[in-house]
């Protein structure tokens, strides 16, 4: 469908621009930041280095060449899938990232779905009861929830559910060995608290949006007509109002994904969960710049991929863009 393409192509161009900006920022930061880029490569272990050695390292990394040349080499490396070497792990950054990626994908993916479902359901419920005490209570509760830092929610959940009650383990993602159902059960138990933390931190935003859109949709003429046609209230609420209110919430989900990925950085750190977020935290702590930059790039690419997925699947929800008039 050409009309679809006309909508999609500028979006793809936008995503390419974002990817380019993220990569270029990665390249530029070590040069813009105070000090010698060599220090950023070796996490400051190079501070006492002899000037000759320092020059050798500069030449080895091509840092003695002109900026445009270096930029070209940087992109050539990216094209080959090279992101440098992690100082802390002494392994290629790409390998380290790939080890940690699956945990974050599962954790953030589940948290996105959970916060979407809970936030939408509660927001629609509040809009249905808007102007009442129930609505006011839900709004205050959600504003309060959205005001709490994600990592703090995590710390409180650990103190209560892991330490005081002992219901869930408080750190890690999987026991080192084991297999089958027992292993999966352990993985689920270890995921429970981080997942709850991210979901709690994420559903407030969805709630406020769902409440606002549902309020708008409930005033639409087609809702009034459905009522005048004697449709049962629950069918109006779910079949017509919610069905329409879901559209803007779905597009918001990709924004939500960025929020949750940000949340994952701090929440994974609290739970020592071995995902990308924890990796970023470690990289910050030991100043492993190549690893940090690689993680930043990967998270950006992940968000772009999710946006693209949302653009491609949106027509399934909205016939107005699926079926041409």
């Amino acid at each position: 469908m050409p009309s679809r393409l006309r909508v999609l192509l500028p979006r793809v161009g936008q995503y390419l621009l974002v990817g380019w900006a993220a990569a270029t920022l990665n390249f530029a930061l070590p040069h813009l930041a105070p000090g010698d880029p060599v220090d950023y490569l070796y996490a400051g272990e190079t501070l006492g280095l002899a000037p000759e050695l320092r020059e050798q390292i500069r030449a080895g990394y091509g840092l003695d060449r002109s900026i445009p040349e270096q930029y070209g080499a940087f992109w050539a490396g990216l094209a080959r899938g090279e992101l440098g070497t992690s100082v802390q792990y002494n392994r290629p950054v790409v390998d380290v990232l790939m080890d940690h990626l699956p945990w974050t994908v599962v954790l953030v993916g589940l948290a996105t779905v959970a916060s979407f479902v809970i936030g939408t359901a509660l927001g629609a419920w509040a809009a249905w009861h808007r102007g009442t005490r129930r609505d006011a209570g839900a709004v205050v509760a959600m504003l309060a929830l959205g005001s709490m830092p994600g990592f703090w929610i995590g710390m409180i959940l650990i103190a209560v559910f892991a330490v005081a009650l002992g219901w869930f383990p408080s750190y890690g993602a999987a026991p080192p060995d084991g297999s089958g159902i027992a292993w999966l059960g352990d993985v689920a138990a270890r995921m429970a608290l981080p997942l709850a933390t991210l979901t709690l931190a994420g559903c407030a935003g969805v709630f406020m949006l769902a409440r606002a859109t549902m309020t708008t949709v409930l005033d639409e003429p087609f809702v009034r007509l459905a009522r005048a046609m004697g449709l049962p209230e629950w069918r109006i609420a779910i079949g017509h109002a919610l069905r329409n209110a879901v559209l803007p919430i779905y597009t918001y989900l990709t924004l939500e994904l960025g929020v949750l990925l940000s949340g994952a950085v701090v929440v994974e750190s609290v739970f020592a969960y071995p995902g990308l977020g924890r990796l970023i935290f470690e990289a910050v702590t030991v100043r492993d710049y190549p690893l940090l930059q690689g993680a930043f790039l990967l998270v950006t690419v992940g968000i772009i991929a999710a946006n693209l997925l949302a653009d491609l699947t949106y027509p399934l929800l909205d016939p107005r863009v699926r079926v041409a008039a």
């Binding site: 809009a127 005001s147 990592f151 009522r227 069905r243 701090v266 940090l292």
Partner: protein, 553 residues
């Protein structure tokens, strides 16, 4: 949730926080940077919140933390709001290439993951209060810019700005005098929301060890508590809970203010939902009287509750529509036409009450029925053709499924039978039955109005209420829709109450016309009598206002 209440609570919290921040040296029992007791002490009279790992008094740290958290939050948000506002104003007003470039930049910043971006820049910039402010402002200005630009763009379309530009006024003249004052109210809520984001970002940065060690904020306190695993012991109660609560309460104060601004900007969020009120007085089983008129209204009086006391919208109205009869109801907007229609459908808004009179539809007393009985009546015995033909259909569901929905709401039929009925109904209103699979946006305005009429006919109603059935349609299509209603009435023996402000529409279709003025029926009679021998002065005005082609004599 009253917006005013939210704003008052938010402002109250903020005032308290500012006082604490300014009076920190007086309020704090110890200097938070010196060792005041033994490390890891539990709360005691000397240290109300205990001490941390190096013996600093936690209460004093908490009080002083207000300074760093508020300072970084407000300064970063202020910088972001100023930058964002300027970019938004320029992009929205100048447009063209500058707009394109600026907005691409805004889109890129908004697409990057906020916290990882903040961290990456923060790590290279190094820890410190100033760099924190710069980094946070760099990350959050773009949202303000996008919002401001949207406001400026809509403002540009206003007449007085267009007039100024047409007269050749320059940007430096128009912007400060006409654009800035108009968008200024938007800047305040944007700033409030920016502070909220900035404080949370500061907390996250400090938690990751990127804060200023010399000026401890609440996030720094939590970072140390985390590093010392305070939450694995009882220490979480006095070391983890208070700083987190402080952050949450501060952010909540700004969130409440932002919420209040949003409620003020969108009054719909404050209004109670427009649902029919629940009624318990159930008069259910009334034997259906086949001879009863399709609609019988007697002495109907309806009042609306308003802030300035009750307002009477309809007063002592008598109106009867016999079986197979078409009655037109004409009146200006505000004359009570729609209230009468809503009363006949049992769909009066919660603020309206029937204070006197009766409304019977096909012999059933609408005015005293339970909500459930009313629902069963609507769409079955009495159906509505609404005035918003273009938006009366659900945009994301097929025409067929919407007709099927009306059928199955009142009849227990199989899916296939309901589908067949939908196709049959489309044929009845001269639409292609294949359109059951079509979506509303694929239909023209006239076709949509036909589809809505098909929905109304789904369960063979005794009475059809058509509320301005031709509004928003062009003249030719108006004629087609009126012809269709006329034919349906002949074919199905349908009784109709047609509401319009347009006398010729009613003259074309009605048997009798009732003239409504200020909530009362001032004249009712056959079409010919109303048109050629109007008695009431208001009717005469209405008739005289219609341009007529007088045959040349």
């Amino acid at each position: 949730m009253r917006a005013r209440g939210a704003a008052a609570v938010g402002l109250g919290i903020l005032a308290a926080l500012v006082v604490v921040a300014l009076a920190a040296p007086l309020l704090a029992p110890y200097d938070p940077t010196v060792r005041a007791g033994r490390p890891f002490a539990a709360p005691s009279a000397a240290h109300l919140l205990g001490t941390n790992d190096v013996g600093h008094d936690l209460l004093s740290e908490l009080i002083y933390g207000t300074q760093a958290s508020l300072l970084v939050g407000t300064v970063a948000a202020l910088a972001a709001t100023v930058i964002g506002s300027v970019v938004g104003l320029v992009a929205g007003y100048v447009r063209g290439a500058i707009d394109t470039v600026l907005m691409r930049l805004v889109d890129v910043v908004l697409s990057l993951p906020v916290l990882p971006l903040t961290i990456v820049i923060g790590v290279f910039a190094g820890p410190g209060l100033v760099t924190q402010v710069v980094v946070i402002a760099t990350v959050i200005w773009a949202g303000v810019a996008r919002e401001l630009r949207a406001q400026v763009l809509s403002l540009r379309e206003r007449d007085h700005i267009q007039a100024l530009q047409a007269m050749g006024a320059r940007a430096w003249y128009v912007l400060p005098r006409h654009v800035v004052p108009a968008v200024a109210p938007i800047v305040v809520p944007q700033f409030v929301l920016a502070v909220r984001t900035a404080i949370l970002l500061e907390a996250a940065l400090a938690f990751l060890g990127l804060g200023d060690i010399t000026a401890k904020s609440w996030g720094t306190m939590l970072s140390l508590a985390q590093a010392r695993s305070a939450f694995l012991t009882d220490a979480w109660l006095w070391w983890v809970v208070p700083p987190g609560l402080a952050i949450a309460v501060t952010v909540l104060a700004f969130a409440l203010l932002g919420f209040a601004f949003e409620e003020w900007a969108r009054p719909a969020l404050r209004m109670p939902a427009a649902r029919p009120a629940r009624r318990r007085s159930a008069v259910m089983a009334v034997p259906v009287d086949a001879d009863a008129p399709a609609l019988h209204i007697a002495g109907l009086t309806v009042e609306y509750r308003t802030d300035r006391g009750p307002v009477r919208a309809v007063e002592s109205v008598d109106l009867t529509v016999a079986r197979g009869e078409v009655v037109g109801l004409v009146g200006e907007s505000g004359s009570g036409k729609s209230t009468i229609a809503a009363a006949a459908l049992g769909l009066l808004p919660p603020a309206a009450t029937i204070t006197a009179g009766i409304v019977d539809v096909a012999g059933e007393p609408v005015s005293t029925m339970s909500a459930a009985a009313l629902r069963a009546l609507r769409g079955d015995r009495v159906a509505l053709v609404p005035q918003e033909a273009m938006s009366a259909l659900d945009p994301v569901r097929t025409i067929g499924s919407q007709i099927v929905g009306v059928v199955t709401a009142h009849r227990t039929v199989g899916r296939a039978a309901a589908r067949d009925r939908a196709a049959e109904l489309l044929g009845l209103v001269d639409l292609d039955p294949a359109l059951v699979r079509a979506y509303p946006h694929q239909l023209s305005g006239g076709m949509r109005q036909r589809a809505v009429i098909a929905m109304a006919l789904a369960n063979d109603p005794a009475l059809l209420i058509a509320d301005e059935p031709t509004s928003g349609l062009d003249v030719l299509v108006q004629g087609e829709v009126l012809d269709l209603l006329d034919r349906l009435r002949e074919r199905l023996g349908l009784a109709m109450l047609v509401i319009s402000h347009d006398l010729p529409v009613l003259e074309r279709i009605a048997d009798r016309i009732a003239v409504l003025q200020a909530g009362s029926v001032v004249e009712i009679g056959p079409v010919a009598a109303i048109t050629y021998a109007p008695e009431h002065p208001h009717t005469r005005t209405l008739v005289a206002a219609v341009p007529r082609l007088v045959p040349a004599s």
